[in-house]
């Protein structure tokens, strides 16, 4: 089983996280979900990735990008994988740069 290049740190029932999921699905991107706890103090894994404890956070191994804030993430995904984006889901899945 090949590992998805994109990891999404998310909180159950968090609308900002669901917004990112919707965008990932829209572009047909495979991703791995890592769920963290509601208490910010328990989110060290997220802090290690992004420097802050907010979710959502995505880590995209295709581009080396780690990003927080759903609006930023959605823009990033669109610019990278959207219709006129730099990458497509297919090249991303194939490990293309």
């Amino acid at each position: 089983m090949s590992e998805p290049a994109i990891t999404l740190y998310r909180l159950q029932a968090c609308p900002f996280c669901e917004r990112v999921v919707r965008t990932l699905d829209e572009y047909g991107l495979a991703y791995r979900s890592r769920f963290v706890e509601p208490l910010h103090s328990k989110r060290d894994a997220v802090k290690r990735e992004s420097g802050a404890r907010t979710v959502p956070v995505i880590v995209d191994d295709n581009t080396g990008v780690t990003m927080a804030e759903s609006a930023n993430i959605v823009s990033y995904l669109e610019e990278t994988y959207g219709e006129n984006g730099r990458l497509t889901a297919e090249t991303a899945a194939a490990g293309g740069s």
Partner: protein
């Protein structure tokens, strides 16, 4: 256990035995930081798979404290627990029993389908609608062939840690290199 009176007889379990391949499954796997879907077959073998009663009941506390104290995560196998508890409850179990410093991780299976597949379900008397795994331990080699299997036929019962440790060490030895 010798209590001087009869405990509940659950009948003989019907689980995979030595030489058979254990069923694969995917469930959220919880560590001290997060949980994500992981397949049993994705784990580094050998695997020591421990089914235990829902988090918060005393057997889970006993089992994981004992396995922590015995250093089961230092034997060369991947040690994973499984109960019907939610990932949130697993996080509490990890925290309350200082398991964050171990490599133990915990599968969450509220619908109990894994225990169903392994032939080890236990319908809980007095908790209508709740079924969970009976206490059971499996040692699996790299291709999930069962090297050691134990499942309780009485309720309650606890694993034989010495037997389990021996089985883990033998499997690690046999699959090395």
């Amino acid at each position: 256990m010798d209590l001087g009176f009869e405990v509940v007889d659950m009948g003989e379990p019907d689980h995979p035995t030595e030489g058979e391949q254990a069923p694969d499954f995917t469930r959220p796997l919880v560590d001290d930081e997060y949980w994500e879907d992981v397949a049993l077959s994705e784990l580094d073998g050998p695997v020591c798979l421990v089914f235990y009663s829902m988090d918060g009941a005393f057997p889970g506390t006993y089992v994981w404290s004992e396995m922590r104290d015995r250093g089961f995560d230092d034997l060369g196998a991947t040690v994973v627990g499984l109960s019907i508890s939610t990932p949130y409850a697993h996080k509490r179990l990890i925290e309350d029993n200082n398991l964050g410093e171990t490599d133990f991780r915990f599968f969450s299976d509220p619908a109990n389908a894994v225990a169903e597949a392994y032939g080890i379900t236990n319908d809980l008397d007095g908790m209508t609608g709740i079924t969970e795994p009976r206490p059971a331990t499996f040692v699996l080699d790299d291709d999930r062939t069962v090297r050691y299997a134990w499942a309780a036929s009485e309720w309650p019962d606890l694993p034989d840690y010495d037997d389990l440790e021996t089985a883990v060490l033998e499997t690690v030895e046999a699959t090395d290199g």
